[in-house]
């Protein structure tokens, strides 16, 4: 295998991993605060369509990115209000959010089907991407670099800052956190909004970078893979990075192997593999830890402040 090919493959892997990493890190923070939002797919679609619509209308993809984050965060706000303020069931509300996002994105997107958009360009000048090695370093979309920075930032935030400590405390024991005087609901609201914004950004990665277009259900179920990856990563940002790239690697290598003329496994088995792997990982860490998966203790449970 020559170096050019290797670089090309690595770039494809990064492309496949980036949106999952961004959406997954958002959901990771949400879950760390003790909230389970199954509406990632819906928020991604809202982000994808908003980013596309705004980029096309204004001509500036960057404005599209910002608008996408705001729109998806607004959708997340509906979710937050229902599950945090009104203490509605998180699983049901998250599913409803996905139905909502699928429908709303199709309505908004109807006039944008079949047209092209200004896409988000590269971060570095073209002169820097002349050789394969330089391309590997400088030739990615800005969002690829952003996702890596985001991984470090989320890690640093959760493990090294006071705010991160509070967020984890809220996720582990909301009543204790509340007793100490932490604003449980506020923390969770902020986490959910952040998760929404990241899902929106991830959605945009599809509509403005990877496959610059809009069509209904553009993200084709990637939001659910992001949720699976959070579990696969056992709620750790570093493992989230590894998981997203591992997923990208499996997908890319499968296609590369087929393109090179090898058909090794049934395609259905490969499609099921990420989910099987997630279950296995869940089982293994649970077995190793006896009764704990590193899952935030309050995940999915409502909180009501008492007096």
């Amino acid at each position: 295998m020559n170096f050019d090919l290797l670089v090309a493959i690595l770039m494809t892997i990064a492309g496949a991993a980036t949106p999952l990493l961004i959406a997954g890190l958002g959901e990771l923070v949400v879950e760390k605060s003790g909230v389970l939002n199954l509406g990632v797919e819906g928020m991604m679609l809202i982000g994808a369509v908003t980013g596309f619509a705004v980029a096309t209308t204004t001509g500036y993809p960057v404005i599209g990115l910002v608008a996408a984050m705001l729109a998806a965060a607004a959708a997340a706000l509906i979710f937050a209000f229902l599950v945090l303020t009104l203490m509605a069931n998180q699983v049901a509300t998250g599913l409803a959010l996905t139905i909502f996002g699928t429908g709303v994105s199709a309505l908004i997107g109807a006039p944008f089907v079949g047209i092209t958009t200004p896409t988000l360009g590269l971060l570095f000048p073209h002169a820097l991407t002349d050789t394969p090695l330089l391309r590997l370093i400088f030739g990615h979309s800005p969002l690829v670099y952003f996702s890596l920075i985001l991984t470090v930032a989320v890690f640093w935030f959760l493990n090294r800052t006071r705010a991160g400590l509070i967020l984890r405390a809220v996720g582990e024991s909301d009543s204790a956190a509340h007793a100490i005087g932490y604003p449980v609901l506020l923390v969770r609201y902020l986490a959910v909004l952040f998760g929404g914004a990241m899902a929106g950004l991830a959605g945009c990665y599809y509509s403005l970078v990877l496959t610059p277009m809009w069509a209904e259900r553009l993200t084709a179920g990637r939001g659910w893979i992001a949720i699976a990856l959070v579990v696969f990563a056992s709620w750790r940002p570093g493992r989230m990075l590894a998981g997203a790239y591992l997923f990208g690697l499996v997908i890319t290598m499968e296609l590369q192997a087929k393109a090179a003329g090898f058909n090794i496994l049934a395609p259905e088995f490969l499609a099921a593999l990420p989910y099987i792997a997630t279950i296995v990982v869940l089982a293994v860490i649970s077995a190793a830890k006896r009764g704990g998966t590193n899952a935030p203790a309050c995940l999915g449970k409502p909180f009501r402040a008492t007096a």
């Binding site: 709303v104 909301d174 659910w224 088995f269």
Partner: protein
């Protein structure tokens, strides 16, 4: 702090349990009319088309029953688990596995005849769903794996298994190489119980199951055990009820009924197995379970209401050209409103200046009467 406060009710309000969904539906109709108007349609006509008109057309009643019955069946099974705080969201996969298990029997008996074939298919369907649900149950009871996540992941595995079987081993050899099985024989097809209609055996079955579940939940020891486990695990442990057995009962009930719904759909309305078999019933049923307030009788109503939005949404597409996405948004709004008004059942809205809350409680996951919705009947 604020002018209004929420105060937990000692007992859920029965009046509110009925009033809340009505309020939610009223809000949905209002917001829906507004939304459709904004989209450039006649808002009131659209709401009328989706929500009212199908109710006055006897043909549509059959459609509603056919569409609602699998949802009711699955949601009833899920509600049993949800009441005990066992969060099985893998019904979609269990539905597929039930359908596949029954289909396996059907394909093996394609050249045989006899009244025994259909019952065997149904039993295998139930077992198929149970086997798939047993995986998260086992992981939960032996290793403490969160069942929400494991059951969700298994949905995708089930669907890929279906695709594999349709593309390969189970493909109809006479079917022009299309990925689907042969049509089932008449001995493998669910009978129509009301001649001249679409009412197949699965429909009375679904309603009978809901009624039975209602009885079991409210009148038997097991029902009590499951409910106590949901309400207060510690109390349940003192009473000698095991948490593990609760998980098993909850998962197997959910999986078994989802599997039954799967084979009923396959041997009834489908009449064969196709790759398009899973259409999200397993997820929709979660919503139905909550709309029905985890009460089997409520679930019957909720299943019919949801079926109404599908059937009415299709009519609205043809009569006023409302895009199907608008129906999706309408459904989502209804769910949002129903989930939002649910709080009225569990809490009282009081003025901020009134006396402090009488019954403080923690929400650390120990006891959550709010979520498990004790039935007071």
């Amino acid at each position: 702090m604020s002018l209004v406060k929420l105060e937990p009710r000692r007992q859920q309000s029965r009046a509110m349990a009925i009033a809340a969904p009505v309020i939610a539906v009223a809000l949905t109709l209002f917001a829906g009319a507004l939304l459709f108007t904004l989209l450039g349609h006649d808002g009131l006509a659209a709401v009328n088309e989706i929500f009212v008109k199908p109710l006055f057309n006897p043909y549509r009643w059959q459609d509603l029953l056919v569409k609602a019955s699998p949802l009711v069946m699955i949601a009833t099974g899920l509600a049993i688990g949800f009441r005990a705080n066992v969060w099985n969201i893998g019904a979609e996969g269990q539905y597929v596995l039930g359908g596949l298990a029954g289909t396996g029997v059907a394909l093996a008996t394609l050249n045989m005849s006899g009244g025994w074939i259909l019952p065997v298919m149904l039993v295998c369907g139930v077992l198929g769903g149970m086997v798939w649900a047993a995986i998260p149950a086992l992981l939960k009871t032996k290793l403490g794996v969160n069942e929400i996540l494991s059951s969700l992941m298994l949905n995708y595995v089930a669907i890929q298994l279906l695709y594999y079987l349709m593309r390969g081993p189970w493909k109809d050899p006479m079917g022009f190489n299309f990925p689907q099985t042969a049509m089932f024989s008449s001995d493998q097809t669910l009978p129509i119980v009301v001649p001249g209609t679409l009412i197949h055996l699965g429909i009375p079955l679904a309603f009978a199951i809901a009624l039975t579940a209602f009885g079991v939940m409210t009148r038997t020891i097991t029902g009590f055990q499951m409910q106590v486990e949901g309400l207060a695990p510690k109390a349940a442990a003192f009473g000698g009820f095991g948490a593990a057995s609760t998980v098993w009962i909850a998962m197997l009930a959910g999986g078994g009924l989802a599997g039954l719904a799967g084979i009923v759909e396959a041997s009834g309305p489908f009449g064969q197995m196709v790759p398009q078999f899973p259409t999200g019933y397993g997820y929709t049923a979660i919503i139905v379970a909550f709309l029905g307030r985890l009460n089997p009788l409520g679930i019957v109503v909720a299943g019919l209401v949801l079926a109404l939005t599908y059937v009415g949404g299709e009519s609205a597409q043809t009569t006023i050209g409302l895009p199907s996405a608008a129906t999706g948004v309408f459904q989502a709004m209804m769910l949002f409103f129903l989930l939002a008004t649910d709080i009225l059942v569990r809490y009282r809205v009081v003025s901020g200046r009134s006396a402090p809350v009488a019954e403080p409680r923690s929400s650390s996951g120990e006891a959550k009467p709010g979520e498990s919705k004790a039935v007071t009947a």
